[in-house]
Amino acid sequence: MSLLALAPLIAIAVVGGVALVLRVQRNRQLVLLGQVVETHVSRRAAPSILYFTGANCTICHTAQEPALRALATGLDASVQIREVDVASEPGLARRYRVMSLPTTVVLDAEQTVRHINVGFATATTLRAQLIEAGLPVAA
């Protein structure tokens, strides 16, 4: 069989390889679920969100930030949403294995990682995740 006829298989192998790399990256991140990454941070009163962003991240500024603002208006003041610029705090981004922007990490009051959202996460999704992480439903 000529190489030309094998072009589809070669293409599938290339795409499969890239998918595998992305999957491995994602799995390395999912390992963090249920763990406390920042052991030096003390227990908080409520779940919190770490929002990883960057200066050139258009989706961050045009979609994720409006969603976080919409979420924040309905939350108790004890719920913290902390914006992290990956350029300014690369160590923190590495500890959370941030591979794409925006990334939002939902932490419970014990600072345990409960959810990691790669890409845009809606206010509805984040609110449901905060509730699952211990946010009182009435908040």
Partner: protein, 160 residues
């Protein structure tokens, strides 16, 4: 927070236009490849599809799949609209990526590197299939990775 440009909200976006685009790509490339196994001239389809993809990026009026959908497929009831509210920017980038791959395939075909040309074209087919069948937009993922790396020449005006 203040921005020097208007924040784009999620807009109504008909995903059926994407589906029509993906079907044209898949059918066009697969058919051309089959013919191309016997006749190298079939590679002429590659620059045609590249122009189709890239022209659609320039203006919606030049988006051939969109025009086909709006003026024929939708009014004739062949394809139903699927309107969602989302940011179309990642999908436009995915279209750009497809156009660039096909342009690269065209250049490879011109240089008689037919295996390279068809591998690049089939990568577009695989990605189009993933998006068509599973709504998996690999171009959108690449978009996010490139934005994170600061490779994309996207910039916004300085924050006020």
């Amino acid at each position: 927070m203040h921005y020097a440009f208007a924040i784009m909200k999620a807009v109504p976006f008909d995903r059926s236009v994407l589906k029509v685009n993906q079907v044209i790509l898949m059918v066009g490339i697969v058919a051309a490849h089959v013919v191309g196994l016997a006749h190298n001239q079939a590679a002429v389809v590659l620059p045609v599809l590249a122009v189709m993809m890239l022209a659609g990026m320039v203006s919606p009026q030049l988006n051939a799949p969109r025009l086909l959908y709006l003026h024929a497929l939708k009014p004739w009831g062949i394809v139903r609209p699927r309107v969602v509210h989302e940011d179309p920017a990642p999908h436009r980038f995915a279209q750009l990526l497809g156009g660039v791959f096909l342009a690269g395939a065209s250049i490879a075909a011109l240089a008689s590197a037919l295996v390279v040309a068809w591998v690049l074209a089939w990568i577009v087919v695989v990605l189009a299939f993933l998006n068509f069948a599973f709504n998996l937009c690999v171009g959108c993922i690449v978009y996010a990775q490139l934005v994170k790396l600061g490779v994309l020449p996207l910039s916004r005006a300085s924050a006020a």
